[in-house]
Symmetry: C2
Amino acid sequence: MSGTLYGLGVGPGDPELVTLKALRVLRALPVVAYPAPPEGTSFARSVVASQLSPAQAEIAIRVPMTRAVAPAQAVYDRAALDIGRHLEAGRDVGVLCQGDPFFYGSFIQLFERLATRYPTQVVPGVSSLTACAAAAGVPLVTRDEILTVLPATLAEAALEKRLKQAEAAAILKLGRHLAKVRRILKRLGLADRATYIEHASLASQKIQPLAGADPASAPYFSMILVRRGKVAR
Amino acid sequence: MSGTLYGLGVGPGDPELVTLKALRVLRALPVVAYPAPPEGTSFARSVVASQLSPAQAEIAIRVPMTRAVAPAQAVYDRAALDIGRHLEAGRDVGVLCQGDPFFYGSFIQLFERLATRYPTQVVPGVSSLTACAAAAGVPLVTRDEILTVLPATLAEAALEKRLKQAEAAAILKLGRHLAKVRRILKRLGLADRATYIEHASLASQKIQPLAGADPASAPYFSMILVRRGKVAR
């Protein structure tokens, strides 16, 4: 009998925004894996660090910080091999995921490599989407509104085309793309309806009108929420 | 000092998918409110029923099941008055919300009526979006994909226009609109990539390819997930 692969959503950062299910599964795991930067600590691990035991084996998946695809793919290939060996030996492996595993999660990389071969379960988590809205006091969508979720990494024209049609939008992965997004929202007359949020639910949380956000310091894990209500359909 | 209004996301239904924070806040509340059908039990309340104490006052907000707007508005007006009286008296009031309070939540109705006058905090929850994806084993979005969230209550032409452009989509509030949505997805050649999910995370959970879903029995709380990857931008 092989072990089970778990994708464990640990929420946006506040250790209290972890679910009872994620905690129960986590505590019973012999092997815990998590994405981490090339050096230093894993954010997902830090959220549940107080729940880990020295008896648990840990696998840090050190993902290179490059825009090239191949180096990261090689890291996920190798991590899937490591994790697969534990699963073959009958040991359950949990992959800690910031936010939710299936909402822009790097867990999807491992899922695609392993889920056809091993029993796999995903424990959903509080995503950055709802965490940012809650922190900012900005409702995401109501009634029959459409919500569009856009990575800021897209080209300016593509972003503008989608935002022009959007009734409610969340723009994530801002980082160095903040100035570009602000430019678009200004052109569309939406800048005054936009809220900037970084590090939602953490002590370092920052919330401000988009106009005041500093493009030089926006982290990758920041978001803009915009809501204007109905547009022509 | 007035009390604080809390919007408490209790997640999709599995009592284990409640966060530690929602539980902590809930247990300390003197007054608990929740939406409920005209008769019978509240779904949001049922998720955390085992955590409630007889010492807590309860307010059932009985929302009429009609498509007309006015009757529901009158109910929310009255509920806001009731809740406001407790807040004025210094008592904290928590509103239990299925999924997340700001993701199509009826809590938004109360938030709009009360948040400018009373301290308000929203505790985000696991939304139906991530819960359905986890239950079905279907990643929502990855890398720089765009996610579009659409209520099935929209007109057929509007839905089709948006789905034609969508790389990844979640279509909620299906109920009697299932046949319409399936028709659209067939026309767009997307029906075979669509998964139908109802009652995610509950014992009654059902997951099947869209082709097999029964339009006569789809509940309001069901969802279709579609992902096809890049479309022309």
